[in-house]
Symmetry: C2
Subunit: 389 residues, 2 copies
């Protein structure tokens, strides 16, 4: 029964995030009326695609924030007394007598929606950059626009139009994420901290993606330093560190607790990225729903490739990596090489080491992190260890 209650609670939270996203997108669709049916259609299609994933980032924020609140205390609120008391006051007001309907929940939901909107903006630009038309086994937004456009006959023009729309909608959503956070109804110092976190995450993600493309295109030599920076920056920061940091800010957590959660979040985020690389390289197509060889074909210089580089198999790997016309047989051979040379195991060990480090920070660090918060993050780690897509 407790498990079913818990599932219902999570489903309700997910439904609230989707409703919040829907409200934002609905507002934009309405506003686009002055731009005519074509722009409105773009917003409607976007609304169909956004929020179609697991809502990992908004849910991490909401669950950790709930855990902080359930504990009733978020620890001492840092060294800046005025910020601390502001935060605590806001946090108290948000709770009120009914924790389910306070102003704090509206703020948290808004932040959660901003996280998913930011995520989707990045996905859109990644899809344009990587020439992907498919995600989770279905047309992504660019693919759906292209399918619609090419019905008119001109395949090249349709693809150009669909990709351009992907760039522009990504811009609109990136702006929207900023606008939402810049206006959340919290004390100014707290809002500034949220904006700092967003700033850091955007800067990291774009830098990581730039390195990813430069490495894959052979414009940046595949040095370990660049590969590590890319792995650490591309998605780890905005996917884990950012939601955890936002939860700490909204809960008014103390500086030590926040630093510990961000450190743990960094480890989990990097593990998440490494596992993503591993799933792309070794996972079954029907699981991740993408071209099974896309990372190989694009010559992605993941940590797996870096681990293979120092082995005797490297010449054979290098021979196949980056071939845009890679056949299934060649893909399977490349996969086999990466398993046999130990690269897969090496990266699996690194993932375990990162998750161990995260557990150490959560349990044995100097910060006194509330037990409920630790439990939520460990749940997330267990989900991560078991994921197949």
């Amino acid at each position: 029964m407790a498990e079913i209650d818990e599932m219902c609670r999570l489903d309700r939270a997910r439904a609230s995030v989707l409703a919040e996203l829907h409200e934002v997108l609905e507002g934009e669709t309405l506003r686009a009326q002055r731009h005519g049916p074509h722009v409105q259609d773009l917003w409607r299609r976007t609304a169909q695609h956004i929020g179609g994933g697991k809502l990992m980032r908004p849910m991490l924020l909401l669950e950790v924030l709930d855990a902080f609140r359930a504990e009733g205390s978020a620890g001492p609120a840092g060294s800046d007394a005025s910020r601390g008391s502001d935060a605590a006051r806001w946090s108290d007001a948000a709770h009120g007598s009914d924790p389910g309907s306070g102003a704090g929940d509206a703020v948290a939901l808004r932040c959660a929606a901003a996280l998913e909107i930011l995520h989707y903006a990045f996905l859109l630009h990644d899809d344009v950059i990587d020439h992907d038309l498919v995600r989770r086994g279905d047309d992504n937004l660019v693919g759906a626009l292209h399918r619609h456009g090419r019905a008119g006959g001109d395949d090249g023009a349709s693809l150009h139009w669909a990709r351009s729309a992907g760039i522009l909608m990504g811009d609109l959503l990136l702006s929207r994420a900023h606008q939402l956070l810049a206006r959340v109804d919290v004390p100014a110092p707290m809002r500034a901290e949220l904006l700092d976190l967003l700033d850091h995450a955007v800067t990291e993600s774009a830098a990581g993606e730039f390195l990813d493309v430069g490495l894959a295109d052979g414009m940046i030599p595949p040095a370990r330093r660049e590969i590590d920076t890319m792995t650490r920056s591309k998605t780890a920061v905005y996917s884990v560190e950012l939601p955890l940091g936002m939860a700490c800010v909204l809960a008014g957590a103390g500086a030590e607790v926040r630093a510990a959660l961000e450190d743990a979040g960094r480890c989990i985020g990097i593990a998440f990225q490494l596992q993503d690389d591993a799933l792309s390289a070794f996972g079954a197509e029907h699981h991740h729903g993408k071209d099974p060889w896309s990372d190989f074909r694009e010559g992605k210089q993941t940590r797996i490739m870096d681990a293979a580089r120092s082995t005797a198999s490297w010449p054979a790997v290098a021979e196949l990596l980056g071939r845009s016309d890679l056949t299934d047989a060649q893909g399977l051979r490349l996969r086999g090489l990466l398993v046999d040379c130990g690269a897969r195991d090496r990266v699996a060990e690194e993932i375990e080491a990162l998750l161990d480090e995260a557990r150490r920070i959560l349990h044995d660090g100097p910060a006194r992190i509330p037990a409920a918060v630790v439990e939520v993050i460990e749940q997330q780690m267990r989900r991560l260890e078991g994921r197949t897509r």
Copy 2:
């Protein structure tokens, strides 16, 4: 002497904007240290390209704001008394005894830099979308990266890398523009108004660009309504209406004055866009510094084409428009057709009508706009009428 003084004053203002831009870009380059030399190099190259134009938007903001302040009064501050008094208080504090060094000037410069950063983010994404590698007769950022990258031998990979970098740097700058405005040191209601203006401008520009691409790619039928919306939204709003609106907010101008300036700005902005189209179609290459036939080759459905559509020349125009392999002879023939059928004159008349309407609003409208403000805007209109690039 007065003219030389005036030129010196404008040069000083331009230098201040460039210094502010430099400071922002320098900060980002420093921050990118943790991402290694390749990301730092991207920031350094960006710093070399940004602010290379006429700084039209920042200068319009600063000149109009100065004019408001020179008049010493910005009229009644709207109906919202609390906002008005806040704004006035801030505005007074900004003046102090030395108008050249008050806090208000720091805020105005920051807003001016945000305008140029926003403009450059749009330019970057436009260049990626339009496949442009050249601007003002020189490599643009994407072109410069491509020239650097292809020295390694792989032209396709280099171009992909350069365009991806254009998308990602555009994202970073778009975020930066939001971050700068979200943190300007003004009363919260004033900051909210600045964010509203930014929001409106970004939404308009992206919608306009989406229509531009859809029309050129033949994905959107070239109806007058869509062409007008595109012409009104693509650059007009963020180039003229936004700087004027920001100047009004920062000056604490009354609601009537602000509405009038935004209305006039809309007319001027559309005239600016139409003139841009005319310069691309009829201007000399050494003036605008782009491929002289790029608009023709991309099949841009400008207002000029729309004016030609109802004439007997249309079949001959349609035959040539959108040919990616357009020869010089065909380009000249297309240009001749557009002149002979009266489309060029029609659009020139529309530009005049729009500027007349702007003058009417400035002089004969119900709003009492300070004379110095009117003078600055009229100067801008004269520059616009005389521009050749």
